[in-house]
Amino acid sequence: MDTRLTIVKRAVKEIQDGMNVNLGIGMPTLVANEIPADVNVLLQSENGLLGIGPYPVEGLEDADLINAGKETITTVPGSSFFDSAESFAMIRGGHIDLAILGGMEVSEKGDLANWMIPGKMVKGMGGAMDLVVGAKRVVVIMDHVSKHGESKVKKTCELPLTGLGVVDRLITDLAVFDFTDEGMVLVETSPGVTVEEVKEKTEAPFIISPDFIQS
């Protein structure tokens, strides 16, 4: 199983029946495909839709019906359209149960950086800054280690922040962490991954949960 699929399959467990969920662009979008049929959720798209359905059947795509990633989509029964101010009233006002976003760096205090690399072209934060402060629960999914072999789980984020102390849970290809008043807590490791390996590849210090699960 590639690391992306490992992460996505773990992330989908965060989704519970009855939730309203916002999935970020990129890897988080893939989580939608893994939601079990008996789990009823409404997926929110911040451009103005609650109740995203699957991609349209070829030829039936509609340019007026897209998600926040600008992909053509469909709607599910019970969906609703609204304007972008209403959409972010929902997000900022704490009505979205769960947001799953990608990350570039997460700090031990739950700070998140995922929108800007200094020196590179600034593309903009889109709705990410609103989502991380507004959603009831924020789960970040990302590779544990960068392509250059550096830990992306930092003592302090080096990249400009998306939000300060906003991450509730971090899911990487190696482990799952929670961010609590006591600090960063290791709650799981992925199959075949030891706590030693996680320690080695994590710049930030962490404590181990009493409920720690070795997969």
Binding site: P54, E58, A89, I91, M125, G127, M129, D130, V133
Partner: protein, 231 residues
């Protein structure tokens, strides 16, 4: 008292160099294609544009960039545009990034007579630089200011002759907000009906916000990311 104009050129003819314009749409979905084209033809310059995105190299607001008509862009995401990047890096183009929800609320606020509001969005990030903060119940919030446009360009599905507007699916997005925030709001639509033909409960934007209505034809409605499944 019909608000219907027959010429896009005429409808945008009083937009002057240096105007501030709020433009509806998300990506290339629900953008006022015809009004943007008319603006390019008019050649006005030094525009400040508030819109969630700035089109692509050859679509949407991108054609005003290519024609060097935009001085400043207020947006949340501008990633699909190489001309944008070039003009930004050369210093030709000024950019104010605003988080998407903050931008939507700033435009609504401008239209609603609210000069400023507080939000937790962006606290502790580069977006907070130079902005006032205030505590409510022990939590820190940023002061963000409303945006009012000299003009607003919006795209709707249907209008009546009084300027009442109905949008289609997710092409609604920023359009109702832009409509509120323009001192003069120019709405282009795919169908114009008589007053009374739209039901009072289906109207998304009451005509009180709209000064000019135009019928557009041959909409390109480009799709940025075509994603489909097999039947």
């Amino acid at each position: 008292m019909s608000k219907v104009y027959n010429s896009f050129a005429k409808a945008v003819s009083d937009i002057r160099d240096g105007s501030t314009i709020i433009v509806g749409g998300f990506g290339l979905c629900g953008i006022p294609e015809k009004s943007i084209e008319a603006l390019r033809e008019s050649g006005v310059k030094d525009l400040t544009i508030a819109s969630n995105n700035c089109g692509t190299d050859d679509q949407g607001l991108g054609i005003l960039l290519a024609n060097k008509q935009i001085k400043k862009m207020i947006a949340s995401y501008v990633g699909e545009n190489k001309i944008f990047e070039k003009q930004f890096l050369s210093g030709e183009l000024e950019v104010e990034l605003s988080p998407q929800g903050t931008l939507a609320e700033r435009i609504r606020s401008g239209g609603a007579g609210i000069p400023g509001f507080y939000t937790a969005t962006g606290v502790g990030t580069p977006i907070a630089e130079g902005k006032e903060t205030k505590e409510f119940n022990g939590k820190t919030y940023l002061l963000e200011e409303g945006i009012v446009g000299d003009f607003a360009l919006v795209k709707a599905w249907k209008a009546d002759t009084l300027g009442n507007l109905v949008y289609r699916k997710t092409a609604r997005n920023f359009n109702p907000l832009a409509a509120m925030a323009g001192k003069i709001t120019i709405a282009e639509v795919e169908e114009i009906v008589e007053a009374g033909e739209l039901k009072p409960e289906e109207i998304d934007t009451p005509g009180v916000y709209v000064q000019r209505v135009l019928l557009g034809t041959d909409y390109a409605k480009p799709i940025e990311r075509l994603t489909v499944r097999k039947a």
